[in-house]
């Protein structure tokens, strides 16, 4: 009986969602909501009087802009990279708002715990930083990418292979998997401890022992929920700052 109570649901049942209507499920809802929230926040912020001290929604928007500019763009790309702020801002906001539903009651599913969105974003970033590389360096981008300046001639074959695999193949893969796997792992952990808590509370045998034990997974659930708040922000930040680093590296071959 206890073993039955502890049985974990089939993995797809906690990841795949029924369509609300044709081809529109919870993941799509979260993605659309993330974009809409970002748009609405910046629309409302843009309507406030810019000449007075910002507060409320304008303060939120300006803080996020300054965070991207000072915390990411200036640190990785310098002043020349400020033109990328809108894209990086969109990326950060979208990923963060797709991550956060993992801890919002009723939603409780990060859209980035599914492969589609991280993969799309990583491929988009891949296209962009390679496009930027070719635009700024021309065909030399390829040679600069696989043979960074200063590499001894003897090492060029080996370094070339490593850098090509690292920069061209692994980067989009690592970007995708880092975000997807972190959010999926967090989601599965939350589900695990939630189900364990429920199983212990509703156990039909050894109730006197098992019910109090439910406190332990419950505390873990609370702790992990708080931890996921941090993870949601951190993963959005990491994805965005790596994007900035890749674009900055494509713009300046010496990087």
């Amino acid at each position: 009986m206890i073993a039955e109570s502890f049985s974990f649901p089939e993995i797809n049942s906690i990841l795949r969602w029924q369509d609300f209507f044709t081809s529109f499920n919870k993941i799509a809802l979260i993605a659309v909501a993330a974009a809409l929230i970002g748009i609405v926040v910046f629309l409302l912020a843009g309507r406030k009087d810019p000449m007075v001290a910002p507060k409320g929604v304008r303060n939120l928007a300006e803080t996020s802009v300054e965070f991207i500019e000072n915390g990411i763009v200036m640190q990785t790309m310098g002043k020349d990279g400020l033109g990328w702020t809108p894209f990086l801002l969109s990326l950060f906001i979208f990923i963060y708002l797709c991550n956060v539903p993992g801890i919002i009651p009723l939603l409780q599913m990060p859209a980035t715990a599914r492969m589609a969105i991280p993969m799309f974003l990583a491929l988009l970033v891949w296209v962009i930083y390679n496009g930027v590389g070719f635009k700024h360096q021309g065909i030399k981008y390829l040679t600069n990418t696989i043979w960074p300046p200063g590499v001894p001639v003897a090492l060029k074959p080996l370094v070339g292979v490593i850098e090509f695999i690292s920069n061209i193949i692994v980067r989009p893969f690592s970007l995708t998997v880092r975000l997807f796997a972190n959010m999926l792992a967090g989601h599965i952990l939350l589900v695990t401890f939630a189900l364990l808590t429920q199983s212990l509370i509703t156990a039909e045998t050894m109730q006197a022992f098992l019910k109090p034990m439910a406190v332990l997974p419950f505390f873990m659930l609370v702790f992990l929920t708080a931890f996921e708040v941090l993870v949601a922000f951190l993963q959005a930040y990491i994805f965005t700052i790596l994007t900035a680093v890749y674009i900055g590296g494509s713009t300046h071959p010496e990087h």
Binding site: E10, S13, R16, W17, A45, A61, P86, S90, A116, F120
Partner: protein, 202 residues
């Protein structure tokens, strides 16, 4: 060849799972375990991207990114820059006013220092003049005092000499008389004078 019975399982809750169970017809060879071992899930793996999620995610992000790039961010940034520019101008104005005030204070302090130096010079000159006048006056007073002192001394000396002469005469008279009474003979006046002079000189 086995014929198969197909069971469709739909997982309740979130999402559908279709399981195809191949079971042998009654009388056919094979066990129930074999049938379970051939259970095939038509669900894609949990890491396989779904096209509908990809499409909605991509569409949403592209809309957000385009609006952010061409409308939302420029408007917000324009406002931020205008405010920063206003604040910077206010700071610059404040700095300029502070510099002007400091220049005025410096000028005032310079003028004050000049006036103080001039005042000190005047005071010093006055002090020198006063000192000279004081010295002159003091010398005059001292001279007058010395003159008066000399006159007083001469007058006192004359009075003392007169008194001494009177005393000498009186003592000579008394001494002459006393000698006359003692010896019955009047001593000579020059002797008496000499004796009295010697006694008074001691």
């Amino acid at each position: 060849m086995h014929s198969a019975v197909v069971h469709l399982h739909v997982v309740h809750g979130h999402g559908s799972t279709v399981s195809v169970v191949l079971a042998p017809r009654a009388g056919d060879e094979g066990t129930e375990e074999e049938a379970h071992s051939e259970t095939v899930s038509k669900d894609p793996g949990p890491i396989v991207p779904e096209m509908k999620e990809l499409a909605w995610g991509a569409g949403s992000f592209i809309v957000l990114a385009l609006l952010m790039r061409f409308f939302l961010f420029p408007k917000l940034k324009k406002g931020m820059d205008a405010r920063y520019h206003g604040i910077r101008s206010s700071h610059d104005n404040a700095d300029a006013e502070r510099a002007a005030a400091r220049a005025e204070v410096a000028e005032y302090e310079a003028q004050l220092a000049g006036i103080k130096a001039e005042a000190a010079k005047i005071v010093d000159a006055a002090r020198v003049t006063l000192e000279a006048e004081r010295q002159t006056t003091l010398a005059e007073v001292n001279a007058r005092l010395a003159e008066q002192r000399a006159a007083a001394t001469a007058q006192a000396e004359a009075v003392r000499a007169a008194a001494q002469s009177q005393i000498h005469a009186a003592v000579s008279d008394v001494a002459g008389r006393a000698g006359e009474l003692a010896t019955g003979r009047k001593p000579g006046a020059d002797v008496v004078d000499r004796v009295v002079s010697e006694v008074m000189a001691r």
